[in-house]
Symmetry: C2
Subunit: 572 residues, 2 copies
Amino acid sequence: MPYRAPLDEYRLLLDHVVGFDRVAATDRFAEATPDVTAAILSEAGRMCEDVLAPLQRAGDLHPAKLENGIVRTSPGFAEGYKAIAEGGWVSISAPPEHGGMGLPMTLTTAVNEMMSAACLSLQLNPLMTQGQIEALDHHASDALKAIYLPKLVSGEWSGTMNLTESQAGSDVGALRTRAEPIGDGAYAITGQKIYISWGDNDFTANVCHLVLARLPDGKPGTKGISLFLVPKFIPDADGEPGERNALSVVSLEHKMGLHGSPTAVMQYDGATGWLVGEEHDGMRAMFTMMNNARLGVGGEGIGAAEGAYQHALAHARERVQGRSPVEGGTGTIIDHADVRRMLLEMKAEIFAARAIALACAVAIDMQTATDDAAWAARAALLTPIAKAFGTATGMSVAETGIQVHGGMGYIEETGAAQFYRDVRVTAIYEGANGIQAMDLVGRKMMDGGDAALALLDELEARGRDARGALADLAEPVLAASSALREGVEWLAGQTEMNARFAGAAPFLRAFARVLGGHYHLAAAMACGEGSAQAALARVYIMRMLPEHAALLAAARQGAADLYALDVEDMAR
Amino acid sequence: MPYRAPLDEYRLLLDHVVGFDRVAATDRFAEATPDVTAAILSEAGRMCEDVLAPLQRAGDLHPAKLENGIVRTSPGFAEGYKAIAEGGWVSISAPPEHGGMGLPMTLTTAVNEMMSAACLSLQLNPLMTQGQIEALDHHASDALKAIYLPKLVSGEWSGTMNLTESQAGSDVGALRTRAEPIGDGAYAITGQKIYISWGDNDFTANVCHLVLARLPDGKPGTKGISLFLVPKFIPDADGEPGERNALSVVSLEHKMGLHGSPTAVMQYDGATGWLVGEEHDGMRAMFTMMNNARLGVGGEGIGAAEGAYQHALAHARERVQGRSPVEGGTGTIIDHADVRRMLLEMKAEIFAARAIALACAVAIDMQTATDDAAWAARAALLTPIAKAFGTATGMSVAETGIQVHGGMGYIEETGAAQFYRDVRVTAIYEGANGIQAMDLVGRKMMDGGDAALALLDELEARGRDARGALADLAEPVLAASSALREGVEWLAGQTEMNARFAGAAPFLRAFARVLGGHYHLAAAMACGEGSAQAALARVYIMRMLPEHAALLAAARQGAADLYALDVEDMAR
């Protein structure tokens, strides 16, 4: 089943929906001209279509395995990775002084999404490296940067994130891994980390682990955590991989999907590491990496959704069942209203999630280019929404994709099931979606809702411009936006934090629903009444946007009802 | 992970929510006294807890396999099946004259659901047999009944349904399997059938296939289809398995889940079969079986949801992460509002789906007992809702169950993932959920919505009684019910059938949402303000019921918007 890169949709989104022109107008990103942007996307798209998509099934059928302490990756993954690295697709946005292209995160976001659609399990490898590059660039010493960044940027080496321990998942502060100074600015790292994506591989010359650990004088909780760079092979005097470090892969997890991506239990036995950032300030550095990765994981959900959609559409265009209920139909099941509804809702949902992710990336780029606190606040606001809604879209679209296939969807050979199994983890890792929702209503609303309201101000102003040409679409979007605005104000007014948390998940989804409405409306305006894009917007606005009201009602319930049953009642 | 039969909830539902007292008050089901009912449910529950639940993982880890034409079932399944058969759990509702208990379908529905929760893949076997018993009882000749029913009822033999062919799925009428008369009332059956659940096994002495095929003079389409009973071993003069019939298992499918249930491609090479019902009237007999199976499959979804819920609840009660946000909490993640929200929504959704399934079963029993067309219409109305909503609940609850587990949910050893993979097929087989929705808005609304409105009349009258004691719960339910009523009237008024189909899926879900509200309200009334049940009803009514408005908006869109994009636009 081939993958086709959705280049036209990216073009539309960048040019007319998410305001990429503002990014390209900055000095920092002056090189991101329309020509460069188009060339990057089409070249990356071709690589995804030709090189990565053929690997998708192989990763599922032949999982990475651990043999005598060595991780053997799935057939073809080494070549696929080589294409990613040599094409420069690890490092579109990495610093040029270390070999990166220095292009906007918006382009990385689009490219990552295409790679995810083509081969989710392999794409996770460079995604982790990208986060590591950003963390090192912001927080590491010049000496560390000089050794590691060129190798990571070129893709010769890859990077991982080591946060979780068996007793420390969402509660990172509970970690027990220790770091002891051993002189020369080095530390001995001891402990066990779990769920380490791409903890090892057999195609990069080195694997560099960013490990959270506690120094002897580190306080309990997150404030006593430091971040260390711990390479598999310690670089020698020439910066080439030297002595083997005291770390090992203990085992690989047997997961429901994403089989091509080895998920490792990592053991550190006094492994040599170097401090990144300040002592006891590891969470700050790790958040740099996590925010990057959170947007990336949202993109994974969107990519998987796109893959599942294309797969289901191809099936619906071929499968003949029953008489066509419409005149002049194709004669396949795509003529049936319910099949068409499923496909159009899949497509409309992907558009919404993609627009949100790219809008988040634009905010990150504007923050980078302008250092303006308002852009930083917008990026921070949109990151959890992009992550949770992107991955929720991945799950729901993959589920519908199976449904479009009927019985064939449940048979593994068809491939529809793999999207469903693979994408499921994206709602969990890099902060489970519930954690994203709590971040949104907690930390990201500490400003009293200012960033959220500023975004709505901007979108509503644009929406009002659509009242003339597309009144029937503009009015419901503006009404939904007003309802969301009230929701933001209500939420920001809750001083009892648990009242916010009790509505966090539906609030996040309501926010995404309304943003999707605005972005669909903008696209419809750009393409004009009567366009296919306006027709897609209509499906979204009339059939899917109404959900926002139910979500906001749930978001505003407060916490009391959730504690009215005690735990024994719940078990009865 | 142990399973606990939810006996208290069945009791509450039967006594106060779905009107089982009316069934027990009929002559036909006079034996279904409260004592008998309680004994049946608790004995079946114990068997599910003790015998079936331990088999669940084994079925996943050791799929049924085909070896030299013989299906080898998963470890322990033979013993598990023996417990089901010897306990009489295949045939609670089967005719007493053939060895069944003759008890209401309502009890079978509850018992099937418990068996599904404990071991979904094994439970599918007796579910198919139950449908076959009912089809033979209604449509077969006395001679066939005398030979087959006692063996099926006792569980010595099992039954299957053979509808689908590779070109004939939802469009059964496209089938090509042929039947040729060979004298003595027998027929030679030739063709290939796919997706045959439990097409063979190594623990029943015979496997009896109900096969749809076309006689030489059968017209094209569904009107030319006849139904045949085709046993694996042809019964000898004593009614014992004799000569091997000309049929074979070609292969077993490699499915995403339900590995313990062998899904066969069946080949019939002039196999000997006997007509069931009239020539060319096979669809009518098959629908007897399918309606039975549809309710049963809805119950499979509910059972899987219950299993996933219990699994997630147990995890949430044990897993310690972070500080408790509430005073006097347990110290585990169940103290967190978002975790509690997930669990309570799971529980509330299961209650709603279970109530709908049992209400459907009550209608079937009342139809059986009274032969009243109004009850028949209600059973027909509720069957597609019970099937589609029960299985959708299975999917959504299993998805949330993984989420409650965090990273552990994605690791197969935890077991949460199995519920998610296993239950996915229930939304597809026995008529994909989209087909159920089309049945609801098409065939089941041919009465102009009378059956639907009669049900709402009854429920609203009861809901008005709650206005005094539970006004805050009663009012939203009654308002939602009015909105559904308008939806029914709008829909029944659409003469263009595709306008109905375009909103079929959201309409079905809206119907279920509102029914769930009524049933929760009734349970809250029975248990009283301040009860845990009223608290659960509040979660459902305040947080989940509001979805009905969005669904009804989508249901009333008509079909035009779905055809405004052409297929090429959808691929762009």
